[in-house]
């Protein structure tokens, strides 16, 4: 399932952007956008390393919360933007997903059965909200549908891979990945607050030189006293 999925994604990526359907754009937005892909990768690793019951609970909670996220997008957006000047909060959605999944992976594995299901739910709701916020056509469902299929594929393939590679070293690597996700989430969130520095002076224009035309203009003629402008008759 991994290789056919990769082949489909590669085909979509090679497709000219203006010929892509909404579903294709949705699929790419989930797998290529760092803010959405990384939390899904982390969640897949967490589900893959968890026991069967925990993995099932985590997946179910993720799916249910994602449905809730899709349904409640307008209400959540309205709540986030209730106060004037808070549009930056919409940019905190992806960082929140990163930090949430990081909090699943970073703690000791013995805590994962307790924290995976609720945090997977938070991640699902937030990822769904992120997909819907990036939907270029809010009337049509193609974008979220493509994004959802891509997300499910990514989680399933990587979780199965993590299960096959299961070992003590992978648990340690998962904790390292968790710390990276928290760091990335914090920094991504920080960029939402960053005031971009004003543009520095533009690079100087290079005057084109043409043969026969002097590079420097001749000096301005001096104005003689009592004679007015030098060009006056």
């Amino acid at each position: 399932m991994a290789i056919p999925g990769l082949a489909i994604l590669a085909a979509i990526a090679l497709h000219a952007p203006d010929h892509r359907s909404l579903a294709e754009r949705g699929a790419l937005s989930v797998t290529v956008a760092v803010g959405r892909a990384l939390p899904l990768v982390g969640l897949a690793v967490a589900i893959g390393l968890a026991g069967c019951r925990t993995a099932l609970a985590g997946s179910l909670f993720f799916a249910l919360a994602a449905c809730l996220g899709y349904a409640a997008k307008d209400a959540v957006t309205a709540a986030l933007l209730a106060t004037p000047g808070t549009s930056y909060r919409l940019f905190l959605v992806d960082p929140l997903a990163c930090v949430t999944v990081g909090l699943v992976l970073a703690p000791p594995p013995r805590l994962r059965p307790w924290i995976l299901p609720p945090l997977a739910a938070v991640c699902g709701a937030v990822i769904a909200l992120s997909i819907k916020l990036n939907n270029p056509d809010s009337e049509k469902l193609g974008f979220p549908a493509g994004g959802s299929v891509a997300a499910i594929w990514l989680i399933f393939v990587l979780a199965m891979l993590a299960r096959r590679l299961n070992g003590h070293w992978l648990h340690i690597l998962a904790r390292v990945l968790g710390s990276w996700l928290i760091a990335i989430g914090l920094l991504l969130g920080g960029t939402a607050f960053v005031q971009r520095s004003p543009v520095d002076t533009a690079p100087p224009l290079v005057q084109p030189t043409m043969p026969g035309i002097p590079e420097e203009l001749p000096p301005k003629p001096r104005k003689l006293p009592g004679l007015g402008s030098p060009s006056a008759p």
Partner: protein, 200 residues
């Protein structure tokens, strides 16, 4: 074991192939020197001062052994992010370049002496240095063409250098009683002296 390695290798190759056909944004930009993900990823790798410090964290963790093999590389990015946030929010920290130079000196010395302090002391020490490195990265962030991808790039690069340091440290632990790793620490100390002299 071989089967797992084959599966892992197949997964890594597939990911690499997929990323190579993904659309890559143009790198043309007018202002600043920092771009997006590639620029952020290259920053710790091509900056010898950052590279030496992160690399020595990995080696030192491998030398200390036990939990420290992974607690040091787990703590560093987290505290580094805090340093980056401090820079982004405009907090002023003095003598960051001196702090970075000291980090190379101190971590190189720790590897050279194969120092085994209590884990808390080691974590405190690398936390102080992580703030300096994170701050230096965070200063570049607002000027980046794509700050979000830039941040992701340098965090992933930092983690990769740590893992490289761990791998080299573990590989050099046994031969000649670990003297090769300690010699590497000595070279890192020389680099630290150079950057310290530049920073003064």
């Amino acid at each position: 074991m071989m089967r797992r390695l084959r599966v892992a290798a197949a997964a890594a190759t597939s990911a690499l192939l997929f990323s190579s056909v993904c659309p890559v944004p143009a790198f043309a930009h007018i202002t600043g020197t920092a771009g997006g993900f590639g620029s952020g990823f290259a920053h710790p790798l091509t900056g010898p001062d950052h590279f030496l410090a992160m690399f020595s964290v990995g080696i030192w963790g491998a030398q200390m052994g036990g939990r420290s093999v992974w607690t040091l590389p787990v703590t560093f990015p987290l505290v580094m992010a805090a340093g980056g946030l401090a820079a982004m929010l405009g907090l002023r920290l003095p003598d960051i370049e001196l702090g970075i130079a000291l980090s190379i000196l101190a971590l190189g010395t720790a590897v050279l002496r194969a120092w085994h302090p209590p884990e808390t002391i080691a974590l405190l020490l690398i936390s102080v240095f992580a703030i300096c490195h994170g701050y230096a990265h965070g200063v570049e962030l607002p000027r980046a063409t794509d700050p979000a991808d830039y941040a992701v790039g340098f965090v992933l690069a930092t983690g990769t250098i740590h893992l490289l340091g761990i791998a080299v440290g573990l590989a050099l632990l046994r031969p000649y009683g670990g003297r090769l790793a300690r010699a590497l620490g000595g070279l890192i100390v020389l680099g630290g002296v150079y950057y310290f002299a530049l920073a003064i």
